[in-house]
């Protein structure tokens, strides 16, 4: 069972002087806020603490800088809580890395062209164009407009899924009895709705997505079988081949067979880099990928990117 409680509240002034010694100590007792000045002091005293899941600003201060990456190059560093979500606009060429430190993270991902969000991840094309249903190294994440939005240059997990998408409220209510985004078993879609709204997008804009770190395979009769995690300490990397709006929900996979809502923290890092260029092997690894890159480069160059 994963931890569900958040970071404990601060105790900047110790125990409240008027606390009733007969009552158990609550959060109320930890804060002296009976005037504007004391409330301000109380609030300000809470800063500077570290929580288990939080963004690290500036990104170079992350306690989990990926190996081989200069912290000065980082543009995004965050640990997403179990049942949490995050989102970011990344420049073309950015490297994005997800880490699953516990083996129980599940990074549900949606991608949009940050400049024209009607261009977005198209899972059908992402499986059909490469002639391959399972995500792995050099697998492109394609839009419906014939362009490669991102590619997977590195993957130490190999347990991913492009069939099942993320969870809905209906699914989680049936499975766990609750799907509220503020509750104990939020649905991925419920979190995506909030993340999208912060970029002016609505549920109309949310296509099927992919997820990383919890694998699914298709049997000969079509049955979707759960393979789960490759264990703690795996990671997957992406290259942003165009300016991307990235939405991430860290929620239990729809086919997770456990009755408890089990999901671990998800680490997210991104750093500056260059988009894949014609000189790189990946650019023309397959005829389909080559033409997808030609389309992306054509788009980006015309836009002056």
């Amino acid at each position: 069972m994963t931890k569900t409680e958040g970071p404990t509240a601060a105790t900047p002034h110790g125990r409240h002087p008027t606390a009733n010694p007969l009552q158990p100590t609550g959060v109320r007792d930890l804060h002296l806020t009976d005037s504007v000045r004391s409330a301000r002091d109380d609030a300000r005293a809470q800063g500077g603490q570290a929580g288990e899941w939080m963004p690290y600003l500036p990104a170079s201060t992350t306690p989990h800088c990926p190996p081989g990456v200069d912290p000065a190059d980082l543009v995004w560093a965050e640990t997403v809580a179990p049942g949490g979500y995050t989102h970011k606009v990344l420049a073309r060429g950015s490297r994005l890395r997800f880490d699953d430190p516990t083996g129980d993270a599940c990074a549900h991902l949606l991608l949009f062209n940050a400049l024209e969000p009607v261009e977005r991840l198209n899972v059908a094309d992402t499986q059909k164009i490469p002639w391959q249903a399972y995500l792995g190294v050099n697998h492109p994440l394609l839009s419906g407009d014939g362009r490669v939005m991102a590619v997977v240059p590195g993957d130490s997990s190999g347990r991913h899924d492009a069939f099942c998408g993320t969870t809905t409220d209906a699914w989680n209510e049936r499975k766990y009895g609750d799907a509220r985004p503020e509750g104990p078993s939020p649905s991925g879609r419920g979190l995506f709705v909030k993340a999208a709204a912060k970029h002016g997008l609505s549920r109309r804009d949310l296509p099927p997505g992919v997820s990383f770190f919890q694998g699914v395979r298709v049997e000969a009769d079509g049955a979707l079988t759960w393979r789960g995690s490759a264990g703690p300490g795996t990671h997957v990397e992406l290259v942003a081949e165009m300016p991307l709006l990235v939405l991430v929900a860290n929620v239990a996979h729809p086919l997770d067979p456990r009755s408890a809502y089990v999901v671990g923290p998800l680490r997210v890092h991104a750093w500056r880099g260059l988009a894949t260029g014609p000189g790189e092997e990946r650019f023309s690894a397959t005829p389909e990928l080559h033409r997808a890159y030609l389309n992306t480069v054509d788009y980006c160059e015309a836009r002056g990117l």
Binding site: V118, N122, V123, A124, D125, Q127, K128, I129, W131, Q132, A133, Y134, L142, G144, D145, G146, R147, F163, C164, G165, T166, T168, D169, A170, W171, R189, S202, R203, R204, D205, L206, P207, P208, G209, R217, V218, A220, D221, G222, A223, L224, P254, L255, E288, R291, A292, L294, N295
Partner: protein, 271 residues
């Protein structure tokens, strides 16, 4: 890429062929229109798979889009008139089109990657939109997505960019219903065959359907059904021979012949 061009050559538009029009005549045209089925192709127009009063009975020409609202409880039969003709399909809640068909929800709820009799076609909110109540081929596809001008360039090369595609059909038909590109999502492909092999290889291969084969789907709520009669000529999703579809909606709650709607068929077909 540089193209060699002789200075003195002035390109002239050539009339390529005579093409049938929706008005019933023909027009001589230089437009490279998509192919339609060869003369003599066997066609079986079939009939509804489910008994009931006919609410709607329409024919969809090769390459063309189609849409209709199907009321809760009514059953839509799609007839694969010429055999192995992919009918790309997206379904919307007629009263709230932001709730629409979802491939991953449909697959995750049933725990299977293929669509067969009994498959509940679910929305992006996990709710039932339609149910497959009868099906005359082994399995139906919902993994292969839709073709489009742009994705065709990835699969076949930029020389096919001018081809018409299902994404264009969807956009044109969606626009008639007040919907647009934000409303296009991964779809169903009735009568298309996309196996997933053990190593994850997948692709569109020769179909398992035949002239007159049918699938029937019952509306679980009022739905808008958007269909593209696939114009693809670069893979076997329509056997390289685009043929018509027949769409029949019946109300099983009323006996056949009771107050039936007159056929709203478009002109036969355009071969």
């Amino acid at each position: 890429m540089a193209t060699s061009r002789t200075e003195e050559t002035v390109p002239t538009a050539k009339v390529l062929n005579n093409y049938p029009t929706t008005s019933g005549g023909t027009v001589a045209t230089a437009v490279p229109v998509g192919a339609v089925y060869a003369e003599g192709s066997p066609l079986d127009w079939g009939a509804s798979l489910v008994d009931g009063a006919v609410v709607l009975d329409e024919r969809v020409a090769p390459n063309a889009p189609w849409s209709a609202v199907v009321a809760k409880g009514h059953v839509l039969t799609i007839v694969d008139v010429g055999g192995n003709q992919s009918a790309d399909c997206i379904i919307y809640d007629a009263h709230d089109p932001q709730e629409r068909y979802s491939v991953p929800d449909t697959l995750a709820w049933q725990g299977n990657a293929y669509v067969r009799t009994g498959t509940v076609l679910r929305s992006n909110e996990g709710r039932p939109l339609m149910t497959v109540v009868a099906n005359e081929i082994d399995r139906q596809d919902t993994i292969g997505g839709a073709c489009g001008k742009e994705s065709n360039t990835l699969r076949y090369g930029h020389h096919v960019m001018f081809h018409h595609g299902c994404r264009e059909n969807f956009l044109a038909e969606a626009a008639r219903r007040g919907l647009g590109v934000r409303d296009l999502v991964s779809n169903l492909n009735w009568f298309m065959n996309v196996p997933v092999e053990a190593d994850g290889s997948l692709g569109i291969v020769d179909g398992m359907s035949a002239p007159g084969r049918r699938v029937a789907v019952r509306a679980e709520t009022d739905v808008l059904v958007l269909v593209s009669n696939c114009p693809q000529m670069n893979n076997p999703c329509n056997d390289f021979n685009p043929t018509p579809l027949r769409m029949i909606v019946v109300d099983p709650g009323r006996p056949a012949g009771a107050g039936e709607a007159t056929s709203q068929s478009t002109p036969e077909d355009v071969a």
